[in-house]
């Protein structure tokens, strides 16, 4: 038995994003980034380069960061997708977001959603990273404003905030 292949015209997909199921009708060539932004209106993840070079499109897929610009939406069925829109708990920002505000971890803000998702994933896997581990974990996110020192300080501060919350 062979299954027919899907496409090239639009096909129905169910995407699990930030804990909700979304039914979309999209072509197999569509990237996760374009579906998030154009079909679901989740415009937090940004299109910077579209080539896996900048990190503005970073989302968390099944607990690990991924470039949404290099990922096909059709490859994400049955996976948990998290975007920056899903980080708030009620009216509270995520500690990483709090820390970026407190430490001036951004200037124009274009790279920030991607930076936040990388930082969140880093701290989920490694709650107490060293500065070198922060640099390594965040290396896939470019900031054209060059806010790097403050981004690194923000991630370190977020780690402390989260440790304090855990206590």
């Amino acid at each position: 038995m062979t299954m027919p292949f899907r496409g090239p015209a639009a096909v129905p997909l169910v995407l699990h994003v930030n804990g909700e199921d979304f039914h979309v009708f999209v072509e197999p060539r569509r990237t996760l980034l374009s579906v998030l932004r154009e079909e679901l209106g989740l415009t937090g993840a940004k299109l910077g380069c579209g080539h896996g070079q900048c990190g503005a499109c970073t989302v968390i897929l099944d607990g690990e960061t991924a470039y949404a610009c290099l990922t096909l939406a059709i490859d994400c069925e049955d996976r948990e997708i998290r975007t920056i829109e899903g980080l708030m708990r009620g009216d509270s920002l995520h500690p990483v977001q709090e820390a970026l505000i407190a430490h001036d971890g951004y200037q124009c803000g274009f790279c920030t959603p991607g930076q936040v998702m990388s930082a969140v994933s880093l701290l989920e896997h490694n709650p107490r990273p060293t500065d070198d581990e922060i640099r390594e974990g965040m290396a896939g996110n470019v900031c054209r404003c060059g806010a790097y020192p403050n981004i690194i300080a923000s991630v370190a501060a977020a780690a402390e905030l989260m440790a304090a919350e855990g206590d």
Binding site: M1, T2, M3, F5, R6, G7, P8, A9, E27, P28, R29, T31, G50, H51, G52, Q53, G55, T58, L61, E64, T65, A66, Y67, C69, L70, T71, L72, I74, D75, S118, S121, L122, E136, G137, M138, A139, G140
Partner: protein, 296 residues
């Protein structure tokens, strides 16, 4: 990006049915980190993209009691499914236990986002001379397991790389995984790469060194990436190092490595810089291995 069909077979029968389609370009995909940019840039125009990640054993990462080597009470080899991702290799205790040079190469690739998606099968099938897992797989003398409509075959990693972006696959075949013999206890490996940025860029030069423990001492293996049409071994350097590890021998080994290369100038580096860096990186890798040798 041009439109295409997508399928995600769960059996090889189904996969080969699609791959045999005569009038269509059917292209396998795993992590898509190479493929999507190529399709987007119009370098490749597939009719069908065939996702291999759900095929049996594509994600396996297990010890083998293989035909390749044997040992007492320890797993004699490693099987790595083609869809195993770089971060899985980099973070696996099993891989680090004996195949550390592969874990180091995987950890050096791209950045976190890329390593979470990029697979070892995709890395070798792209057959870039700069594929970072390649020098590690060359010194480990890995074998590539290939499946096709007419059956299975195995190809030595050094025969799998056929030229820039050319691999040894025949039409309609898939790489299903790699078998990697287990180096004897006490063997020491190291991987080193040089790139324009520390993260997210291909190698200008990469070197893998493996000192294989023998009764008499060490037998050395040395492989280089990004300095020829395929990754390559430097047999002369290997012979020199297996004989002696004096400063003079190391200089000669590094010079021989330089002699093996036929690098090109490209966007990442000029020819002369690349040549100079072959010598430096080879020396670094040798010293890094020696630093881990037990003092007599």
């Amino acid at each position: 990006m041009r439109a295409f069909n997508y399928c995600r077979p769960t059996s090889y029968g189904e996969a080969f049915h699609w791959l045999a389609g005569a009038d269509q370009l059917v292209v396998p995909v795993a992590g898509a980190t190479d493929l999507i940019p190529r399709i987007r840039d119009g370098l490749l125009r597939p009719d069908v993209v065939l996702d291999i990640k759900d095929l049996p054993d594509m994600r396996a990462l297990t010890p083998t009691d293989g035909r390749l080597t044997s040992g007492e009470g320890v797993p004699p080899g490693l099987y790595v499914g083609a869809a195993v991702r770089m971060n899985e290799l980099a973070r696996s205790e099993l891989v680090s236990s004996r195949w550390g040079v592969l874990a180091m190469a995987a950890a050096s690739m791209g950045n976190e986002q890329v390593r979470n998606r990029a697979t070892i099968g995709g890395n070798i099938c792209t057959a870039s001379p700069a594929a970072d897992t390649a020098p590690a797989l060359y010194v480990l003398e890995a074998a590539v397991c290939i499946k096709g409509p007419d059956g299975d075959r195995t190809v030595a990693i050094a025969d799998f790389f056929a030229g820039p972006r050319k691999n040894a696959l025949h039409r309609g075949e898939l790489v299903v995984g790699l078998t990697i013999p287990q180096p004897p206890e006490g063997s020491i490996g190291h991987f080193e790469k040089l790139s324009r940025r520390k993260a997210g860029d291909l190698s200008i030069v990469s070197v893998a060194a493996l000192a294989v423990r023998t009764d008499a001492g060490y037998r050395w293996r040395l492989a280089l990436g990004a300095v020829g049409p395929t990754p390559l071994r430097s047999p002369e350097s290997e012979a020199i190092l297996s004989e002696s590890l004096t400063d003079e021998a190391i200089d000669r080994a590094a010079a021989s490595a330089y002699g093996c290369c036929c690098p090109i100038s490209d966007i990442r580096s000029g020819l002369e810089y690349r040549q100079a860096m072959v010598i430096n990186l080879t020396r670094h890798a040798i010293h890094a291995v020696m630093a881990q040798m037990p003092t007599p």
